[in-house]
């Protein structure tokens, strides 16, 4: 009698306990969401060199190519692999007091990692790779070396992009003498903020 009781008890407990263990194993679940922010380096700029045409003669246009040592050079430093936009504001003339002289700018830029110049014509003509409209924004990469891998690129470092500016002045036959100057504004912003 006692043996039967114990046996029944043991079997009953086993039948009940077995499915309950399965239920317990499935009654809790866990997952997590990463919370990741990247505080990026602010863009800094430095004018390395001014555009300097030197002496020009009346009626003789003079061109300084962007790669010429006399071309202007502006360096932008910022977060590696961040997309940036570059905007140029160029004068159509250089001035000497009330006198003006026609001016057209040309530019190219390259990143330090690739050293591959992309020629840009500030009149909006496609000179090199890509499309450029001086009235709009130019999208480019801070570095031309490698793809943007935002998820895993958590050890971002600084990268430098150099913009070289040249141009052409076209003095007339009756161009008054004088020192002609103008100002080119180059602005760079991050675009993937």
């Amino acid at each position: 009698m006692n043996f039967r009781f114990l046996s029944l008890l043991a079997v009953g407990a086993a039948l009940v306990a077995q499915p309950l263990e399965r239920a317990q194993a499935q009654s809790t679940a866990t997952d997590q969401a990463d919370m990741t922010f990247r505080v990026i380096h602010p863009l800094t700029t430095q004018t390395v060199r001014q555009l300097h045409f030197g002496p020009v003669g009346p009626g003789v246009p003079k061109t300084i190519a962007p790669g010429d040592p006399r071309a202007a050079a502006v360096e932008f430093t910022g977060e590696h692999l961040m997309d940036v936009k570059i905007q140029f504001q160029t004068p159509s003339t250089l001035s000497s007091g009330a006198n003006t002289m026609p001016f057209e700018a040309t530019a190219h830029f390259w990143a330090t990692a690739a050293d591959t110049p992309i020629l840009l014509d500030l009149r909006g003509t496609d000179v090199g790779a890509g499309y450029f409209d001086p009235a709009q924004l130019k999208l480019g990469a801070m570095s031309l070396n490698g793809a943007l891998t935002a998820v895993d690129d958590l050890t971002a470092t600084l990268s430098t992009l150099t913009v070289n500016l040249g141009g052409t002045v076209s003095p007339s036959q009756l161009q008054p003498r004088g020192a002609y100057t103008g100002q080119i504004v180059v602005t760079m912003n991050y675009v993937t903020m």
Binding site: F5, L8, L9, G12, A13, V16, A17, P19, L20, E21, R22, A23, Q24, Q26, S27, T28, A29, T30, D31, Q32, A33, D34, M35, T36, F37, R38, V39, I40, H41, P42, E79, M82, A150, V151, L154, T155, A156, Y190, T192, M193
Partner: protein, 177 residues
């Protein structure tokens, strides 16, 4: 788990009661309900968010889908960090604020028999483990409880550039109410 334990005790005690009343009979109910598996799954891409140095703030969200037994109560356990440490070591941290937990619960069905939902909010305390009990609606064929955690990161002036990373860990479990 509490349901399972109670059922086991009842099953074991029943033969003893029957033995004491040898000439009578005693019916003892022993029930154990096996619930649908409970799951919580993060949704969203988890991509890092870019912040500029200098007092800029950016809001972000972490979302989860919770599936389980219709009508069953669940407890949601989580803790929001008050700041995210910089990746790679160091003492720098990115402060977080504006925490909000939102959830979507099944609340029945509409006239067409389609599931309906109710929306609720909960403001957790930063850096403290939280328990939030949610109860779904039994009329749904399958409970779908959606969780969304919102927060804001702020980069102070002088914040060190770099990646800051942390996580909100969410655990859900069935709760007896």
């Amino acid at each position: 788990m509490a349901v399972a334990f109670a059922a086991l005790l009842i099953a074991a005690a029943a033969p003893r009661a029957a033995q004491a009343q040898s000439d009578g009979s005693l019916n003892v109910g022993a029930t154990a309900k096996v619930l649908k598996p409970l799951s919580v799954t993060r949704t969203g891409n988890g991509n890092p968010n870019n912040l500029m140095v200098g007092g800029t703030s950016l809001a972000d969200q972490a979302t989860f889908d919770v599936m389980g037994e219709p009508g069953a109560a669940i407890t949601v356990k989580f803790a929001f960090p008050s700041e995210l440490p910089i990746v790679g070591g160091g003492s720098e941290a990115l402060p977080l604020s504006n925490f909000l937990a939102e959830y979507l619960l099944g609340s029945g069905t509409d006239g067409n028999g389609d599931p309906t939902y109710t929306f609720g909010t909960y403001i957790p305390v930063t850096g403290v483990a939280q328990n939030m009990t949610l109860v779904g609606e039994t009329s749904l064929s399958q409970a779908n409880q959606f969780l969304r955690f919102s927060y804001t990161a702020s980069a102070a002036v002088g914040q060190k550039p770099g990646a800051y990373r942390g996580a909100v860990v969410v655990t859900v479990e069935y709760t007896e109410i």
